[in-house]
C-alpha cells in the first residue's frame, strides 16, 4: 500500500520544536503523497497536534523544512498556508458558534473569493456571482454528510448542533477552503460506535470522491486500520515507526510506547 511512486504533496524534513527546554518535536521527517491517507498515531503528548500546528503555521519550528507542492511554506502566515491548500479540523472543536451552519462553511471560502469592500457594497455582478458560487459550494459540502446538515439546518446557529454534527460541520468547513491536503485532528473523538463507523467511511469517501490527500490523527485503532494507506507513530516528538497498519501496530517500539504511556498515564 505504501506509495513512494506518487508525487509527494507534503514533505517535512528534520522538523524540531521546543517549548522552553521541552522537546516537543524532534528531527521529524514525513512525506505524504498525493491521494494518500496517512494516519499519525501515538500516546498522549507525543506531539501529534503540535505537528499539525507547525504544518499549519501556528508555531514556527526551531529547525526543519516544510515543503508543500514542492515549495516551502515555512514562515508563511497561517492564512496564507491555508490558501495554498492546507486545511484542518480541531481536536477541541473550534466552530464559529454564533454563525449559522451555512455561514460557517461560506466563511471558509474567504481565501478564494475576491470582492473587496467597494464591490461588496455596490453589489457588482461579479460579487453577486461569487456569493452565489460560495453559497452553492457550501450547500454541496454540507450535502456530503447525507441529510444531516441540509435544509433547515442551514439557518441554524452552529451552537445548536449536536457534538457529532459539529465534527461533521468542521470537516465541511475545512473542505470549503478548497484544500488539497486535509488535516483531521481526531475526527472520531467522542463519537459513538455507529458514528465512528460512519466517519471511517466518510474519510475514505473524502479521498475517493473529494480527491483530498488526508493526514489524520486518530486514537481509535479500528478507524486507523480502516482508512490508512500508511501509518506513522510518534512518541515524545520522535517518529518511532512508519509503514502499513500491520507493520506499525506490531512494531515492538510502538507497543512499548503505548504500554509505557498507559502505565504512567494520569489523565
Amino acid at each position: 500500500m505504501a506509495s513512494t511512486a506518487r508525487e509527494p504533496l507534503l514533505e517535512v524534513k528534520g522538523l524540531s520544536l521546543s517549548f522552553g527546554g521541552l522537546r516537543v518535536l524532534s528531527d521529524l521527517d514525513l512525506t505524504v503523497g498525493e491521494h494518500e491517507i496517512v494516519s499519525v498515531i501515538g500516546p498522549n503528548g507525543a506531539g501529534k497536534t503540535t505537528f499539525f500546528n507547525v504544518v499549519t503555521g501556528i508555531y514556527p519550528p526551531d529547525t526543519g523544512e516544510i515543503l508543500f507542492e514542492g515549495s516551502s511554506i515555512l514562515g508563511l502566515d497561517p492564512h496564507k498556508i491555508a490558501r495554498r491548500g492546507v486545511a484542518r479540523t480541531f481536536q477541541t472543536l473550534r466552530l464559529f458558534l454564533n454563525m449559522t451552519v451555512k455561514e460557517n462553511v461560506m466563511a471558509a471560502a474567504y481565501g478564494h473569493t475576491k470582492a473587496g469592500v467597494l464591490r461588496s457594497v455596490l453589489r457588482t455582478p461579479g460579487m453577486r456571482r461569487e456569493e452565489r458560487e460560495i453559497a452553492q459550494l457550501a450547500e454541496e459540502r454540507l450535502a456530503f454528510f447525507g441529510d444531516r446538515l441540509v435544509g433547515y439546518r442551514w439557518r441554524q446557529p452552529a451552537y445548536s448542533l449536536s457534538y457529532a454534527n459539529r465534527r461533521r460541520l468542521e470537516i465541511a468547513r475545512a473542505t470549503a477552503a478548497r484544500p488539497r491536503l486535509l488535516l483531521l485532528d481526531e475526527p472520531a473523538a467522542g463519537m459513538n460506535p455507529v458514528e465512528t463507523q460512519e466517519i471511517t467511511e466518510l474519510i475514505g469517501r473524502l479521498r475517493d470522491e473529494g480527491g483530498y490527500t488526508i493526514l489524520v490523527i486518530e486514537h481509535d485503532m479500528h478507524v486507523v486500520e480502516g482508512i490508512s494507506n500508511r501509518v506513522v507513530a510518534l512518541d515524545h516528538g520522535v517518529k518511532i515507526a512508519e509503514g502499513s497498519f500491520e507493520q506499525v501496530a506490531t512494531d515492538p517500539r510502538v507497543v512499548e510506547a503505548y504500554l509505557g504511556a498507559s502505565a504512567t498515564e494520569r489523565a
Binding site: 517549548f19 497536534t49 500546528n53 501556528i58 508555531y59 480541531f90
Partner: protein
Amino acid sequence: MDWDKLVQLLVNGVTLGSVYALVALGFSMVYGILKLLNLAHGDVLMVGAFVGWGVLGWLGGAQDPTVAVWLVIVLMILAAMVGGGLLGVAIERFAYRPLRRAPRIAPLISALGVSFFLQNSVLLLFGANFRSYDSFDLVDVGVGVDWGPFHIWVMRIVVVVSALAMMAGLWLLVTRSKLGKAMRATAFDREAAAMMGIDVDRVIVKTFFIGSALAGAAGVLVGLVFFQINHFMGFNYGLKGFTAAVVGGIGSIPGAMVGGLFIGLAEAFSVGYIEDFTRGRLGSAFSDLVVFLILVVFMLLRPQGIFGKPEVKKV
C-alpha cells in the same frame, strides 16, 4: 550642561516614576490573575487622593494640623490605602465577578462604566475645581537634603521612600507568603489552582485589595508632591501606569517597577528638554508624545515588554 536642571529632572522623574510604578503594579497584578485590563485603576488612585485630602482636612488642614506632621502623612496614606482597597474589592465584586464567563469585551466595557461613574461621582460631590494638598505648608520647601548646589525637598524623599517600601513589601508578600504563592498559582492557571484547593475567589479579592490599596496610596503621594488633585487626574496616571506595565512586561512585578521608573524618567526628561530639542516648536505639554512613541516602539519591537516572556498560543 545645566547640571541643576538635570538633577531636578532626575528627581522629578524618579518621583513620577515611583508613582507610576505603584499604579503599574496593581494594574499588572490584576492583569496577571484575571487577564483583565482594569481600566478603572486610575480612578482608584483619584479616589485615594480625595480620601487623603479628606483626612488632611479632618486633621485640621495642612497649615494647622492637630497631630504631628509625620502622623498626618501616615494616616493619610493608610486611609487612602484602606479606601482604595475597599473600592477595588467593590469594583471586583460588582463590576467584574458577574462577568467572569462573559465575552472578553464585557468586563472592559463594565470597567469603562466604573471609571466614568467614579469620575462623575467625584465631580458631583467635589466640583470641577482643583483641590490642593498645600503640602508646602505641611513641610516647608526649604527643608530637605542639600548636596552641594542641589536641594531636594524632603517630601519628595518621603514619597519615593514610601513608594519603594510598599514595593518591597509587595515583593516579599508575593515571593515569600502563602498568599503570594496562591496568587502566582492562580495567575498561571486559574482552573488548576482551583482544583488544587486554592480558593480562587479569595485570592482575586485579595489581589484587588492590595493592587487598589497601592493605587490609593499613590493618589496621596501624587497630592503630596504635586499638590493639585481633581476628578479627572486618574486618567493621566492610569494611562501612564498602563504604559509602564506594558513596557515593563504586563503581569511581571519587577517589570512594573522598572517600567514605571522608565516612563517616569522619560516623561520628566522630555518635559525638560523637548523644547530645546525641537527648537521651541513643541512645548513641554508634548512630553506625552514621547511616552506614546515609547509605547508604540515597544509594541512593534518587543510587545511582551522588558521582563515579559513571549506568549505561547494555546490551541
